[in-house]
């Protein structure tokens, strides 16, 4: 399933929603999110934004995007991107 997920990412470049990936895999968004976190752990993906606020934003190049100023709600809950080429 992980290999298939990476294959989908490789074939459909650009931004995709967790929900779309779940539909493509016949799975649930929660399970796909868990798999994405696993792929981060193994170095296939990198997490580039998630809920953050306050001073964390000062040193983040994406500061203001996911939590502009003192926004309490992030623009997106999590954003992952490909870290190393998919074999």
């Amino acid at each position: 399933m992980l290999a298939k997920l990476l294959e989908i990412l490789r074939q459909n470049q650009g931004t995709q929603r967790v929900e779309d990936l779940a539909a493509a895999l016949g799975s649930s968004p929660a399970l796909v999110a868990a798999m994405l976190d696993d792929l981060v752990e193994k170095g296939y993906l990198k997490q580039v934004a998630q809920t953050c606020a306050g001073q964390q934003c000062d040193s983040c190049p994406l500061g203001g995007f996911c939590a502009p100023l003192e926004f309490e709600r992030p623009l997106a809950r999590k954003i992952w991107m490909e870290e190393k080429p998919v074999k």
């Binding site: 399933m1 992980l2 290999a3 298939k4 997920l5 990476l6 990412l9 490789r10 459909n12 470049q13 650009g14 931004t15 995709q16 929603r17 967790v18 929900e19 990936l21 799975s27 649930s28 968004p29 929660a30 399970l31 999110a33 868990a34 798999m35 994405l36 696993d38 752990e41 193994k42 993906l45 580039v48 934004a49 190049p61 994406l62 500061g63 203001g64 995007f65 502009p68 100023l69 003192e70 926004f71 309490e72 709600r73 992030p74 623009l75 997106a76 809950r77 999590k78 954003i79 992952w80 991107m81 490909e82 080429p85 074999k87």
Partner: protein, 667 residues
Amino acid sequence: MSKQTRRPITVALAGQPNVGKSTVFNMLTGLNQHVGNWPGKTIEQKSGEYRRNDRVVCLMDLPGTYSLSANSEEERIARNFIIRQKPDVVVVIVNAAALERNLYLVAEMLMLPLPVVVGLNMMDVANGQGVQVEPHVLEATLGAPVVPLVASKNQGLGELIDAAERVAENPALFSPNRPAIRPEHQPILEQIHALIAGQVPPPYPEDWVALKLLEGDTEIAAMIQQAAPQAWEHVHLLLMQHEDAYLDIAGGRYEWIGRMVRAAVVRPRAGALTLTDRLDKIATHPLAGLALLLGIFAFVFWLTYTLATPLVDWLDAGVISPLAEAAEIVLAATPAWLSGLIIDGIIGGAGTVLTFLPILLIFFAVLGVLEDVGYLARAAYVMDRFMHWMGLHGKSFLPLFLGFGCNVPAVMGTRILEDRRARLLTILLAPLVPCTARLAVVAFLAPAFFGKAAALVSWGLVAGNILLLVFLGIVLNRLVFKGARSAFIMEMPLYHLPNLRTIGLFVWHNALAFLRKAGSIIVVFSALIWVLSVLPGGDIHHSLLATLGRWLGPIGRLMGLTDWRMMVALLSSFIAKENTIAALGILYGTNAGEIGLATRLAATLTPAAALAFLVVQMTFIPCVATMAVIKQETASWKWTAVSVGLLLLLSFLAGVSTYRLSHLIGW
């Protein structure tokens, strides 16, 4: 066997962090706890006893872990304890509301030769979320006892210990449904197993060690390398040939989890999630989503103009004009240069800029609402799909989206792109994203030039910039920056009602930033423009600025901008985009705010020239702050010059084309 002689059993409590494992431990052991550190580690070790009738249950609270893959010290401690100490039973506590994330640890535990009981905790939380978990179905599917719990309310803990005792007494009856390995890797696993047979240091189970080797577990690999160096050489060769085995093994576990969840969990069919799904069918659709985005942008402009125009008029007539009149009276006795500087320069320039504060307040409030309800994430997604479809780099959308706020963080945001070519491309494109300062200038000038058609013109200008960005992106991407693309995945927030405090804070911070700029850069610039407009002889038409403006006259005339003051106003935006308004206010000799300025501008320019002016304003070189960041991020004067040159050329061509085309259709 008498009751007193029943042997004590050891239970290891495992689970991910924050699933209520410690609550279970504390509820069961009470004061019968021993707290120390794991041998040689700084991680806390908690053990305790639970006495029930004739049985002593020794409980060991293992550190919270996501898996047994030795990714962290906690995971190493947990798995070493289970393997070396061999408890009678492992109780894995899972969060019933997040089974997909929790069952991975269960899948790994089942690979060890020990009985496992699953404590399905937080049943109340799951029920509250409308998630219905069927413990009996899960138990039948797993092939392992499953006990529903609400540990915080001491519910189900007795049953949990009962189940642990049962499997501890009859371990031979424990026959779980373990995740399977894919057929293509089964022979490899068997080969590894055969190679290490009889050489695995006890008490590590050989089949588990073989599986971990195939998964690429570095700690187990180091152990085998040391214990069986000859076998390791062969194993290592096999592993090198099957580096992707981890994906298959872990993937198999996720498939197994999917089956368990599908069997045992019933999700809500109505409510927020379904509403989000329904709304997203439109909001994230490639075409409908884009149409919705354009419609929302049009609505934002319409709402901004409708609500803000009366406020701008009031601010102009009720505050700025009386202030200028009062200053005239107060400064009547002062030298002409001083009253001119304050009344025509500062009040005429910075004062005019201040009149569009209501436009910004309403614009930011509407944007804040869109963000807070969760729509902007969809807008970013739709934009990215659209841009990607046109051939742009997938990763670039984040920094480009930042550009709608300000181009400076947009350029800095390109740091997320490791590939230099992709970074350069995004840096070159970022200034074409209309920042709030550019939008504010358009929001002020469009009604002055086009009256009731202002919203449509403004919408067209934003759409034009985005199209230009896409076009330039395609050209540069295909000709200069051809390179590999990559994937991006977003987890969208649910739609929800906007929070007034959050929106208020957003508006307040942006308004404050604008007022700071108006009170510093724009005041200084207004004074400078005024000085240059009166030197050397006091006549604006023979001033230093007029000389500069006339020098640019031939370029301006190609776009219908026959008045040199318009070219100076354009140039002034290099310091800060809002300076265009300040410069126009001073150069057109008005301290009467928008009404006066609007009338004079409308009389000076034809609609075709006015549209060309706005197009150039939207595509002109970025402000000096953005330029400085471009230099910093590219570390190259050459690329900074390329950015300036490219935008100058683009804005000139766009301005001339707009003027000529508008002229052709009779504007």
